[in-house]
Symmetry: C2
């Protein structure tokens, strides 16, 4: 892989909160920027807002062309006019997470004490709850007292759970998808491999790669590759690639030969053109430290005591990164406090990735749950032209 | 991690075959060295020999102190006096695989054309069958016409299957453990991550790290880390480490904090002191290319047609790298050609690693199968002092 230039600087729609943000680690950010996108129109009483929370490598461009890659929105199969999250009916908000690299405050934005430099690896360690606090400031800024729904998969689902636990009055309905109330030992281990690969890259420069106008692209690509394997089921990998040789004329020691290898290398190399290594470290750490039960005295159900939020949890049968038992543990905690909860395991052989794909049963589940909640909330039905 | 010296050079018990070895890739090695260890005594008719085949990062020191690490033999729970593979009764042989780095011909041994230099990344691509051919030369050299048994787990099990397919008359009993007749797309993908991590290391020097007296230790450590995760079940990882913080006084972005992380780093860093990066590349490639059905016209059962070898396959219930269905596929192929086969899935929550551990049901299975085969073969019972 050739040496890459630092990430292109592009303008994002951003709101700046000059009062900053107090973080779980005890430190404070003096100023907080939250980059976000909205779709649809907020109704007169502010009752039709849906917040989408993105996953580790997602961003705010949920339902439109991505400004860096030129690809469609990462959840454009689910979010848009007439889709399960219907932007003709709902006001949909999606913000880049705190610690991200698409405009929100993070390792790549200016250092509080040395404004001419980015934070880099000196960016304070953040938590999923810190991410949610930043989103809450955005939601308040937009004049929304209660979100109709908060939806997210994977790390987005962690944020949904944190929203329901931290701001229960502000969440009418919560849809945590393919997620867990804490990261497993295996998930932490895979993240650690990715981090070590970044640290091993000569372009890492101890986290100050920006000083050298370098980026630890090879390490970040390896991190992405290992993560990508965990997003797919064995069946999905086999179906996509099997053991087809990309070029079967001869065997060599150095060349990649199986289709799966060149695909993984492609995935890794495109990723580094849109993602910052220090953000990757910051956000994977936040995932690894997430433990909602630990935030509530070791008892998960206490996180949801007195909850009036309506929950719909979704897992996918072949997801081995956030397997069904992880969702079921949350469901059981909700049941213990008599919360309103439904749970669906979607049969799919596509692995963790299924939540991003066009899975009809999944989309029907989301659409049905939203319709029921909207009726209960007294939202007027979608006006048809 | 500090810069490491190249691997220590130590003397191994070795036999050199001056006629070399013809390889599957079409090239030939001019000379072939096979490093090996034996335990016990060969009987007068040469009928009590058991060949042990080692896995990716194993070696010939199966049942004695390792000369580099000072640790016990890697299978000393199974192989030794009075153990299931009883060295008081059997003559046990274990050879370092072709491509390895413990004395057998491989990337670290002298280049055929430039004897003052090692092969390095110019070492010809090898296959599991090439490894088995090298072992066959050793077995012939030792005067053994038929092995009483060939035993191995993981990549060692691939070699056992290849032995039975390539030299059926030379194998009385075959015990392939926790293995498969081909590497899955997921396994190939994990190996590819490891290879890319090595390529990304600045000390890799395009495979000629030996010229710089360097070794791509960080990349190799990352490769070992990701592999190590795949050897453990989620339960084993959680039981070993859970989410215990190694030092819970504060959060930082760069330090490792979970016990699982420091363990993985430790595993990675000790590994690089005993293993050569080019060997790792060479052997993982051989595993990835292994496809016993493809060697027999796409039909696995043809590999075993007319087989008189007695087979005992073993899988472990929580092994997700070589899961039970992979063993079952081999069993079904053997049944289709009316081979003599038994199959046991051992209930274990220790993952792929279980085959190296002291699992009583597993050891009973091996001991029982060997006893039955010995009786059938007419070996005299073990003499007790």
């Amino acid at each position: 892989m050739d040496q890459l230039e630092p990430l292109a600087e592009i303008a994002h729609q951003t709101v700046v909160f000059p009062d900053g943000l107090a973080l779980d680690c005890g430190r404070s950010l003096r100023s907080l920027a939250v980059a976000y996108r909205t779709y649809g129109t907020l109704d007169a009483v502010g009752g039709n807002a849906i917040l989408i929370c993105h996953a580790l490598t997602g961003d705010q461009y949920v339902a439109e062309t991505h400004p860096l890659t030129g690809r469609g929105g990462w959840w454009s199969s689910l979010v848009g006019p007439g889709l399960p999250v219907d932007t003709d009916r709902f006001f949909v908000i999606c913000a880049n997470v705190l610690g991200g690299c698409m405009g929100s405050t993070g390792p790549g934005t200016p250092h509080d004490e040395r404004p001419g430099e980015p934070w880099g690896h000196e960016f304070p360690p953040i938590t999923i709850r810190d991410m949610v606090r930043a989103q809450k400031k955005l939601v308040d800024h937009l004049g929304i007292r209660q979100l109709f729904a908060v939806i997210g998969g994977s790390m987005g689902g962690m944020q949904v759970l944190e929203w329901a636990a931290t701001y229960p009055e502000a969440v009418f309905a919560a849809i945590p998808i393919a997620t867990a109330a804490h990261h497993s030992a295996q998930n932490i281990a895979f993240n650690e491999v990715g981090r070590q690969a970044i640290f091993a890259d000569p372009d890492w420069h101890g986290g100050e790669y920006w000083r050298e106008r370098a980026t630890p692209a090879r390490g970040l690509a390896v991190a992405r590759m290992v993560a990508h394997i965990t997003y797919l089921s064995e069946q999905a990998l086999t179906r996509k690639f099997g053991r087809r040789l990309r070029d079967a004329t001869s065997l060599t020691l150095l060349d990649d030969r199986f289709e799966v290898e060149s695909y993984l290398q492609y995935q890794g190399s495109t990723f580094v053109r849109r993602f910052d290594a220090n953000s990757y470290l910051s956000i994977t750490r936040a995932m690894d430290f997430f433990d909602l039960a630990a935030e509530h005295g070791g008892e998960l159900s206490r996180a949801f005591e007195g909850a009036r939020t309506r929950f719909c949890l979704v897992s996918f049968s072949s997801d081995w990164l956030f397997p069904t038992p992880a969702s079921r543990a949350v469901v059981n905690a909700l049941i213990r406090v008599a919360a309103n909860v439904s749970f669906v395991e979607i049969a799919s052989d596509k692995g963790h990735d299924a939540f991003l794909l066009d899975e009809p049963d999944f989309h029907r589940t989301i659409a049905g749950f939203i319709a029921g909640c909207a009726e209960h909330r007294g939202l007027k039905p979608r006006e048809r032209a």
